[in-house]
């Protein structure tokens, strides 16, 4: 993956503001996008750059907001970062573009209560069937 060209292409589909890019240790490039830009960005990356390997999705409740990190990999890491409100967090699913996102989205939804709109659903993945305590990775129960 040529990171410079990838970032240029991402910038070209979101021309309104300069792309927020940072670098983490171990060669990870991180791009922060608004929630509605995640899907178009992933479509561009997977169709034009053949960036098909989604390593996982990390969700975190920082206390003020819900952070989602989509970790992609193709020789080096590229993470797409977005934030959602703590009240009723929702974002369109990626499963149509990256079918491998199925379990990752379900896990984030169980652990943090994020709704992935259009996710095919299915039985619970990790929590017991009779779990009624709210998402366990939330800072305080909803």
């Amino acid at each position: 993956m040529h990171i410079g060209r990838t970032l240029e292409a991402l910038q070209s589909i979101f021309p309104d503001a300069p792309l927020a890019v940072e670098t983490w240790p171990l060669d990870e490039t991180v791009v922060t996008l608004s929630p509605e830009h995640i899907r178009p960005a992933v479509r561009l990356l997977s169709e034009r750059f053949k960036l098909r390997h989604l390593s996982t999705i990390t969700g975190e409740d920082t206390g003020g907001e819900i952070v989602l990190l989509y970790h992609f990999w193709d020789g080096r890491g590229l993470t797409l970062r977005t934030t959602l409100p703590r009240e009723g967090p929702r974002i369109p699913t990626l499963t149509g573009l990256v079918p491998g996102a199925l379990f990752y989205e379900r896990e984030v939804s169980e652990m943090l209560g994020v709704e992935f709109e259009g996710h095919p659903g299915g039985a619970a993945l990790l929590l017991p069937d009779d779990w009624d305590d709210g998402p366990p990775l939330r800072k305080e129960p909803l």
């Binding site: 983490w24 240790p25 171990l26 060669d27 990870e28 991180v30 098909r52 390997h53 989604l54 390593s55 996982t56 990390t58 975190e60 920082t62 990190l69 970790h71 990999w73 020789g75 080096r76 890491g77 993470t79 990256v98 079918p99 491998g100 996102a101 199925l102 379990f103 990752y104 652990m111 039985a123 619970a124 993945l125 990790l126 929590l127 017991p128 366990p136 990775l137």
Partner: protein
């Protein structure tokens, strides 16, 4: 034809770990399957947030009972990156040596499980006998057969003495001879071929679509291995081949893993013959500066990912663990489609499931 749904698990006489699946069959053919994990979910990601960086080394070692050293390697690599620490060369060498010994042990264990599931008990006995060779070496080095507690933040805590090297090399030769026999057997033994060829087929394109990693991906012709493609530790200076196969079935997965054992043996020899001098570790501070990191390594089952965010205190704000089994579980629905009931155990064991890993 009448459809019948057979529930199985989570407690099951054949599977060693709790996994529940429902198979809908028409006669002997599986037409639909549904899987459920989570029976050994321990909430490890939450536990990690509540303990110090130091204590967490012992927690992540217990995510998995087979690839425990892979977990501490990925975790320590993440924290060392946040601290800006460089592990001394001898520490890196011992760390990689254990990684490869563990890969050998994990792959041999898997060969035995598969052999047992297809009714080839003799091979199960032989492989698990040979696995003792590598378990003995790891026990001699670290004091533990499966939980080695070798990694610490900043390096490793055990050394390989000069008098130990010769003994280990001799035992690795012994093991290599056995592995060559096994490779020959899997290549030519007819019963084995009948039970594994074409079973649990996963085409290359599906591997990409479902983001599958490790030996399962390589057995479907996807040439990916983090040790070569994004070298960490000392893999950039070591000489090894990445094994791939085209078949995408249980037989190809067997060949990939068997030949990977041979490559890992070569890697162990290279490390033991070229052990650098010097210290094993550097001192690591208790507090970690604020920052975020994604650490990836090639565990025995494929890409293992640790994400760590530090807020500057002595405990991580968030640790995310993605184990390779979570990527291969997703393929089972497709692999089970249309197989004979008798082949279900071969398909399930073929992907090398580690349920404790997937549940965390």
């Amino acid at each position: 034809m009448t459809r019948l749904t057979i529930p199985s698990g989570p407690q099951h006489p054949a599977l060693k770990e709790p996994l529940s699946f429902q198979l809908t069959v028409e006669g002997e053919r599986v037409v639909e399957s549904a899987l459920r994990i989570g029976y050994v979910h321990r909430g490890i990601e939450r536990i990690l947030q509540e303990r110090t960086y130091l204590q967490n080394v012992h927690i992540v070692e217990r995510v998995c009972g087979i690839c425990s050293h892979a977990h501490t390697t990925a975790y320590c690599q993440a924290i060392e990156a946040l601290l800006g620490l460089t592990v001394p060369p001898r520490g890196v060498a011992v760390r990689v040596l254990l990684c490869e010994l563990e890969r050998i042990h994990s792959h041999i264990l898997w060969l035995g499980v598969l052999a047992e599931h297809i009714g080839f008990t003799t091979i199960f006995m032989y492989t698990w006998r040979d696995r003792e060779i590598v378990l003995d070496i790891m026990e001699e080095l670290s004091g533990g057969r499966v939980a080695h507690a070798v990694n610490v933040i900043g390096g490793v805590r055990v050394d390989v003495g000069p008098q130990q090297v010769a003994g280990i090399l001799a035992r690795l030769d012994e093991l290599e001879a056995e592995i060559e026999n096994l490779a020959q057997l899997f290549q030519h033994e007819q019963t084995f071929q009948v039970r594994t060829r074409g079973v649990g087929h996963l085409p290359r394109e599906e591997v990409w679509r479902l983001c599958v990693v490790g030996p399962v991906a390589r057995a479907s012709g996807v040439d990916v291995d983090l040790r070569r493609d994004a070298p960490y530790a000392s893999y950039g200076q070591l000489d090894f081949r990445v094994i791939t196969a085209k078949g995408g079935d249980v037989w190809s997965r067997t060949m990939v893993r068997t030949l990977e054992i041979a490559e890992s043996l070569r890697l162990c020899r290279q490390i033991l013959r070229d052990l650098p001098e010097g210290p094993l570790k550097v001192r690591a501070p208790r507090r970690v500066p604020a920052g975020q990191v994604v650490s990836r390594i090639e565990a025995p089952r494929g890409e293992l990912v640790y994400y760590v965010r530090s807020d500057g205190s002595d405990r991580p704000a968030r640790v995310k663990v993605r184990t390779p089994t979570l990527t291969t579980l997703i393929t089972l629905k497709q692999q089970l489609q249309g197989v004979n009931i008798a082949d279900v155990p071969a398909v399930l064991s073929g992907v090398d499931l580690c349920i404790a890993c997937a549940d965390r």
